[in-house]
Each structure stands twice: as C-alpha cells, then as structure tokens.
C-alpha cells in the first residue's frame, strides 16, 4: 500500500509535520497528497475506534444476512443503494455464498433493531429473506484490540 495511506490507517490524527518526518518528505507534499486522495474519494473519512463497552450508554449491533432478488438492470447495486441510505445501517457488504448482502445495523436496544428488520428491511421489495445475529462482545475492531495487550518486559539495554 501507499506509504501515506498505511500511516494514516494506523493514525489518522498524525500531524503533517510528523507524517512528513516519518515518510522523509515535506509537510506541503503530504498535505497535497492527502487533498488529492480525499478528492479522488480514496480517503472517505477519518474516524475514532471506540471501545463501546467502556461507555455507560448501551447500544445493540446486529449482523443481518439479507437475501435479495437481483434486478435485471443494476444487479444488486440498486437495492444495496436503497438499503445503505438507512442511518441504522453502519456497514454493508455484498457477499459470496449463502446470502447476498451483509448489513451491520446499530440501534439503541433490541426492539429498535428488531423493528428495523421487520418493518423496514423485510418490507422492501426484492428482499426475499433475512437472518439476524446480535453481537455479544467486541474483541477487536478495525485491527485494534479492545483490551490493552499485556506488555512484555523488555530489557532496558541490550547489545
């Protein structure tokens, strides 16, 4: 991968100066490439990875497998575009295998998610079946472990 993208995927908050030092380039050069990547739509957003379990507020996340009838024109993309507009849908992928679309849906509680499935999702024409799985616990998200890994003790000086 592009050196700058690899760096930003690890730490999107890095300053231009630090990024420039680490990649042996100038800050202006880094700023220019970031602008370009944003304009090209390569970089879509900069977000924080949050351990939700540390928060007092509760929310529920479900993975929903959705079977759809692809349309003659547009295949899956048309119905996928409609589904992805719902703010409850936080991630969505077209999958190979038993079902077609995988949705990550977030709601304040079980009932909210259930009603999204029964009232909104199932009633969309083209959706032929759903299977809903609730998330119980997050161990790792976007490559980040949710618990601090045990640090091994290194010697302070070694040859």
């Amino acid at each position: 991968m592009n050196h700058l993208l690899a760096l930003l995927k690890e730490n999107a908050r890095i300053s231009l100066e630090d990024a420039a030092r680490q990649l042996a380039r100038s800050p202006e050069d880094i700023a220019e490439e970031m602008d370009r990547l944003e304009q090209q739509g390569v970089i879509r957003a900069y977000q924080a990875v949050v351990n939700e379990e540390k928060l007092d507020e509760t929310s529920v996340t479900a993975v929903i497998e959705v079977q759809v009838q692809p349309e003659r024109e547009g295949g899956f993309d048309h119905i996928a575009a409609r589904l992805s507009r719902y703010p409850e849908v936080i991630s969505m992928y077209l999958m190979s295998g038993q079902y077609d679309l995988m949705l990550f849906v977030e709601g304040s509680d079980l009932r909210t998610v259930a009603s999204f499935v029964s009232e909104k999702l199932s009633s969309i024409s083209g959706v032929t079946g759903t299977a809903t799985h609730f998330r119980l616990k997050t161990y790792k998200h976007h490559g980040v472990l949710m618990e601090f890994a045990h640090e091994s003790e290194r010697l302070q000086v070694s040859p």
């Binding site: 050196h3 760096l7 630090d18 030092r21 680490q22 990649l23 042996a24 302070q156 000086v157 070694s158």
Partner: protein, 395 residues
C-alpha cells in the same frame, strides 16, 4: 586454599577468560537498571512481539508433545525451509542435508565458525564499531583479532582498499556484518564485489553475519556469499531474531560448504546437542510466509528511521542516514564531552537511555547508538528530551 578467598578463585580462572574485558553494554545496563521510568533507545531488539502465527505454531507443537531432541543439525523440515528461503532471498543455494546447521542464535553460530576455523595465532580481520561479541570470540578461540576501524565519513564502510593492507600471510578469516549493528552501515553492490574479489585473491574465509539483511531500506541487500567464487569460502550466518522479532527464541543458522558445517557441528553436538525443539518449530512456522510479517515491521522501522534522522538533524547533531538495521549512530563529539559522559548525563537528567558508541569499539567514541525499535510515542518524547539536553550543552 581457603574457598572463601575470592582472590584465590580469580587466580584459578583461565587467563584467556579473565583477560577479557567486561562488555561496555553491561556496565551501562547496570546503571540504567537502577533507574525508573527510563525511555530506552538502548535495546538491540524489535519492539514487536513474534508474529502471532509463529507463537501459535510453537504452542501447537507443545500441545502435540513435540518436546524431544532433534537431529544435531536441526530438524530436516526446518533445514529444507531455510534452504529455500536463503536461495530465494539471497540467491545462494545450500544443500539442507549437508550444508546447513541450525544453532542457538547467530551468537552460537559465530562462536562455532571461529572455533572451527582458527588455530592459535591465526589472524581474523573484523570491523569496529561492531557487535560486542566479535573480538571476545576471536580471543576465546586463541586467534588474533585484527581490527579495521571504520568511521562516519563514509558511512562506516569496509572496503577492499581498507582491507588490503591488513592482510598478512597469517590472515585466515574476514568477518563482515552488513547492515551493521551499531551503525546501520551498508555496502553497495560494487563494494561487496570488490571485497569478494579480494577474498578470492588472498584465499580468505569470510564469515558473514547477515542478521539484519532483510532490514535494508533503500536498496536490495546483497550478500557476499552470492558473489562469484564466494560460496565455497563463506560461512553465511543468519537467524530469526531481528527481521522476525524472535530474539528470545535464540534460533539461528549457519550455511557453508559441508566440510565447514561438519566441523562446526562437531562442536555444536558436544556443547549444545541441538537447538531447542520449540524454537525450531517456531522458526519453521516463521518461514512459511516471512515476507508479509517482515514487510509490516520493516515499514514501521523505516518510518521511525526517517523520523529519528530528521530529529537529529534538527538538533544539529551530524548523523548519516543508516542504510539498514534499526540503529542510528549520531555524532555528539562537537559538544566537547565523551560518549560515556553524554550517555550518563542524558540518563541522569532526562531519563533517556542510549548506549555510548565506545561500547562497540574505541572508534565509536563521539557517537551514541540509538535504537529506533521503540514506539513512535516513546521516540517523540525521547527526541524532545534529547533536544533539551543537547541545547543545554551548547550554552
């Protein structure tokens, strides 16, 4: 003899051992270990843990009860993997049944190589600043260390031109380590070729310690073993510690013509029997897909190298861009204090540990070895503190 009289015990030591100086690293370690909350740039190992699939492979082998001795040479499947890897990465082909010996780290392999080759009085050329064990190992083998001092003016290079005047009719071995600990120095293809030519011309055996080979940043690494006429006179040493973050497993290997691995194996079988089976299993697992693991860590070292290099230049300390390994060797001589004074002062006033260059040979005076295999956050803090310390010495 009074057994409580430590002096009399000292008198009984082998003079070969009692004459060996204590490692400068140990001295410094003793000071650092007394202090708390130190940011250390003094560690010669990766800050990554061994890749998970490698650890998992070792755990699985333990679950399977694989806890016995292995062949003295090392497990056949591991030697096969090593053979393929060395051929692919270094372009030299070694027979896994006859030309590869698995050892307890490159440290053991170095000791075996020197002991297998040297008679008392044989001369061994090595270059400083270098890893702390080179000179002592030559001395322990009753051979004569012949020192080639390198310096910052040309990136701590060893060249055929510098070597030629050191070669006598007693010179048997030339030891090379590129990229170099502690300087990060590297060689160009032409420089490697010229050294190889000289070794052939003067009929030298070359021991090449390639432990940092994969961590070469700005060009392809080239091993002297791959040069024409060299395989038959080279002991190629490599291991898993640095590029695969496996220091504590103590696992390395030697590749050489059969006569040489056989001689090294004789010492190895009587002193070590075999490398630990668990580490051999881990090494086997590590060689299943090493490129991916290495690429991730290398990218991270590369960024930190760039960062630290820029930081030293901002401090106004002259510092060449290291070509490999994970060390930087900035010059502090212009501040008018010795490397040891600088390092001790930095430790006491700013709680940053970096090793005085003199720990790696007298010609390391005026330099500091800073290892950048530590987190960016730690590096950033260390750099701020060093900057303050350096500014304080300029007033």
């Amino acid at each position: 003899m009074n057994p409580n009289d430590s002096k009399s015990l000292l008198n009984r030591l082998s003079t070969n051992v009692s004459d060996l100086p204590r490692s400068g690293i140990r001295d410094f370690f003793d000071v650092v270990s007394q202090m708390k909350d130190v940011i250390s740039l003094g560690v010669g190992e990766p800050d990554f843990s061994t890749p998970w699939h490698v650890r998992e492979g070792a755990i699985y082998s333990l679950e399977q009860g694989q806890t016995g001795y292995t062949s003295n040479l090392g497990m056949p499947k591991l030697r096969n993997s090593i053979s393929s890897y060395v051929e692919k990465f270094f372009g030299v082909s070694y027979n896994p049944d006859r030309e590869i010996l698995v050892t307890v780290g490159v440290s053991e392999a170095l000791d075996l190589a020197i002991r297998a080759l040297c008679n008392p009085g044989d001369e061994v050329i090595y270059h400083e600043p270098c890893y702390v064990s080179y000179r002592p190992l030559i001395q322990l083998a009753h051979a004569v260390p012949v020192l080639l001092e390198t310096d910052a003016s040309d990136g701590f290079k060893v060249t055929a031109e510098k070597l030629r005047p050191l070669i006598t009719d007693k010179t048997k071995v030339l030891m090379l380590n590129f990229p170099t600990n502690p300087t990060g120095g590297g060689l160009t293809a032409q420089e490697v070729k010229d050294i190889a030519k000289l070794a052939v011309e003067k009929d030298l055996i070359v021991i090449t310690d390639e432990i940092y080979a994969e961590l070469t940043y700005d060009r392809e690494h080239l091993s002297v073993a791959a040069m024409p006429g060299m395989k038959e006179r080279t002991i190629f040493l490599h291991g898993f510690s640095k590029a695969l973050a496996m220091t504590g497993w103590r696992i390395g290997y030697a590749c050489a013509p059969h006569e040489l691995t056989e001689a090294m194996m004789k010492i190895h079988q009587y002193t070590m029997l075999c490398a630990p089976v668990m580490s051999q299993q881990a090494a086997f697992e590590a060689l299943k897909n090493p490129e991916e693991d290495i690429a991730v860590m290398k990218e991270s070292y590369w960024r930190r190298r760039n960062f630290l290099h820029a930081a030293f230049l901002e401090m106004g300390l002259p510092c060449g861009m290291p070509e490999g390994a994970f060390y930087m060797f900035p010059q502090i001589a212009e501040l008018g204090i010795t490397a040891k004074e600088f390092a001790l002062g930095l430790l006491e006033s700013e709680k940053v540990a970096a090793v005085p260059g003199t720990a790696f040979g007298a010609c390391g005076e005026g330099h500091l070895r800073c290892c950048y295999a530590t987190s960016m956050e730690q590096l950033e803090t260390a750099v701020q503190r060093m900057h303050r310390y350096v500014d304080g010495h300029r007033k």
